[in-house]
Amino acid sequence: MGGGLGWGPSNLSVIEVKDLKKTYKIGSVEIPALCGVSFAVEPGEFVAIMGPSGSGKSTLMNLIGCLDRPTSGVYKLDGTDASKLSDAARAAVRNRKIGFVFQSFNLLPRMSALKNTLLPMMYSSGRRDAKAARRALESVGLGKRLHHTPMQLSGGEQQRVAIARALVNDPPVMFGDEPTGNLDTVTGVEIMAIFQRLNNEGKTVIIVTHEADIAQHAKRILRFRDGLLESDEPVHEQLIAVPKPRE
């Protein structure tokens, strides 16, 4: 299944990056983090972004996650130019078009799984659809853990709550920033299985990782080095994550 094929004849890229640059200024010193990067991601793709630390992958992640603005270049998300949006507009984009999953889960500690899942809804025109949140949690296998707080959940379960939270507003793109980094291998595979399933259901998934075997679960790998795109290759033998049955 190639990029965009599942989405019919329309060839509209969900992410389009052209000559994207980001330079950080610390005092009078300018530190280039991203030195002109161009690529596009079609709907339904599963992309892994790899690179050593300092390669610019985190900067790229912040830019395409609409958490930061590029110094120059164009970034189009779902057809709209997101590089020049105001702070409030970027917040709205993060809310509706992107689902974030982090390495350290980033759940709100005093809220139940259900409430954590509801959080993005609280910031989208005030509607709170507990049913949607419940469905999202059920889809990641936590239908029976709705009222547990993060403290009462294992790492894998917490990450699944985070995925449910990312899914609840039905965004076109899912971002995973080292989503398996804090998990053991078995649990990591479980999380990757969820991402693959979501991808099979049509979601565009982008993950940042430095683990080669995690990247092998994607369909395409972008490698970065020193702020530049080093290679852009499809994965020939995609690993299919099969979670081991637990007791």
């Binding site: 958490l67 702070d87 917040a91 993060r94 982090f102 709100l108 959080l119 910031y123 989208s124």
Partner: protein
């Protein structure tokens, strides 16, 4: 994020740190409670004072006998041996054109008997006008008549408390009471008068237990305590001479008080100065009397109330300021502690404004809750004070509304900076924090 969600978040945040929230609120709680309790006490005292002044009437002047001691006492014996006397009342009536009524009173303590048991009661000798001037109302029978004075009749009118003490629930009308050794016929009853719990002014006393008799009867039959002491430097001969001149004796007989009612309440000031100059002359400069003008007391009390209010506002604002600083301190700590939460919220779509609003509402929830607890404590405190100290307190709705409004304002003002700090947090940094 809806307001309700934000308030709910604020509340759950408060509940998850109960101890800290309580301590944070304490400043506002005490501030508001103190304001409400103090305003209630102040308002109660004010009402009390106003009631008493109104009871005296603002169109009257009281001239009271004053005791003199020390060096002046000897001079007083010499120049004005009788103190406030019957002739003073007469000259005031003659000189003051504004004076509508001039009522002399003469208060004497005496043992009063109906059955066998004597009761010590204040016997007030006065004239028929007293009823109007003292703002008393008759319950039964009549007050003193001019003919009682003219005919020197032994009749009396009872105050409500005096009646209760002497007759219980029996009808006293037409019965006789024995005052010292003389019999008086009861001709009337005065309605009970409302008397405040605290005596704000010495000019006021409980009039309910008085017994009223014609003034001339009082003069001939009873002696005022201070007059009974025979001045040392007056020879026996002079005494005898004075006693023989009975006409002079009436005029020189001591009075407790002269109540002057004027045409209208504006005239109290000028009348008072005329009264002062008349008495100054006849008493040869000896101040053995005092002039009390209720209208002036009213003004003074209003002035005092204003000062009290200003002092209170100052105390209240200091305590609320301290409370506010405490809240700001805690909110700043909270913002730092919850940096990661802020990052997560921003990441899932919260705008800066959402974050400002959330933290402002949390501060507001703290101060409003503190304000509410403070109101409950303040009202309870005022109640406790009136129950145990028997002070009159008046809880004013205005004080409640204003102090609640101010505590909300404190939340907004002192929550603003921490909330803006929270909103300025860079989400990328915030997600990496901790």
């Amino acid at each position: 994020m809806g307001i309700l969600d934000a308030i709910q978040t604020g509340l759950s945040e408060l509940l998850s740190h109960k101890m800290r929230s309580m301590l944070t609120m304490l400043g506002v709680i005490f501030g508001v409670a103190a304001v409400i309790a103090m305003v209630s006490i102040g308002e109660g005292a004010k009402q009390e004072a106003l009631d008493q002044i109104r009871q005296m009437g603002i169109d009257v002047i009281h001239v009271k006998r004053a005791s003199i001691s020390g060096e002046l006492a000897d001079k007083a014996e010499e120049r004005s041996p009788y103190g406030l006397k019957y002739s003073d009342a007469q000259s005031i009536a003659n000189v003051c054109s504004y004076a509508k009524r001039v009522v002399p009173t003469r208060e004497v303590f005496a043992d009063v008997k109906v059955g066998e048991k004597p009761v010590s009661v204040k016997i007030v000798g006065t004239t028929p006008d007293y009823l109007v001037v003292s703002r008393s109302k008759l319950q039964e029978g009549r007050f003193l008549f001019p003919t009682d004075i003219h005919d020197h009749l032994p009749v009396c009118v009872l105050g409500a408390a005096a009646k209760r003490e002497l007759f219980g629930f029996d009808d006293p009308m037409g019965k006789t009471v024995k005052v010292s050794k003389k019999l008086f016929r009861v001709v009337g009853l005065i309605q009970p008068k409302e008397v405040g719990s605290a005596k704000a002014f010495s000019a006021l006393r409980d009039l309910n237990s008085d017994i009223y008799i014609p003034i001339n009867v009082s003069i001939t039959d009873f002696k005022i305590a201070s007059q009974q002491a025979i001045p040392a430097d007056i020879t026996k001969l002079q005494q005898i001479a004075m006693k023989l001149m009975s006409r002079t004796s009436i005029e020189n007989s001591a009075l407790s008080e002269v109540i002057v009612q004027v045409q209208n309440d504006v005239a109290t000031g000028p009348t008072a100065s005329i009264v002062r100059s008349v008495l100054n002359r006849s008493h040869r400069g000896i101040r053995d009397y005092e002039i009390i003008i209720p209208a002036e007391l009213l003004k003074q009390s209003q002035q005092t109330q204003r000062i009290f209010n200003i002092v209170m506002a100052a105390i209240a604002s200091i305590s609320l300021l301290v409370g506010g600083i405490g809240i700001m301190n805690i909110m700043l700590a909270t913002v730092t502690q919850r940096t990661r939460e802020i990052g997560v919220r921003r990441c899932v779509g919260a705008t800066r404004w959402d974050i400002v609003r959330q933290f402002m509402l949390e501060a507001l929830v703290i101060t409003c809750l503190g304000g509410l607890i403070g109101i409950v404590m303040g009202v309870g405190g005022a109640k406790a004070i009136s129950d145990y100290a028997h002070w009159r307190t008046v809880v004013s709705m205005q004080a409640i509304i204003v102090s609640f409004g101010v505590s909300a304002l404190v939340g907004i003002i002192f929550g603003m900076y921490p909330a803006v700090r929270a909103a300025m947090v860079d989400p990328i940094e915030a997600l990496r924090y901790g």
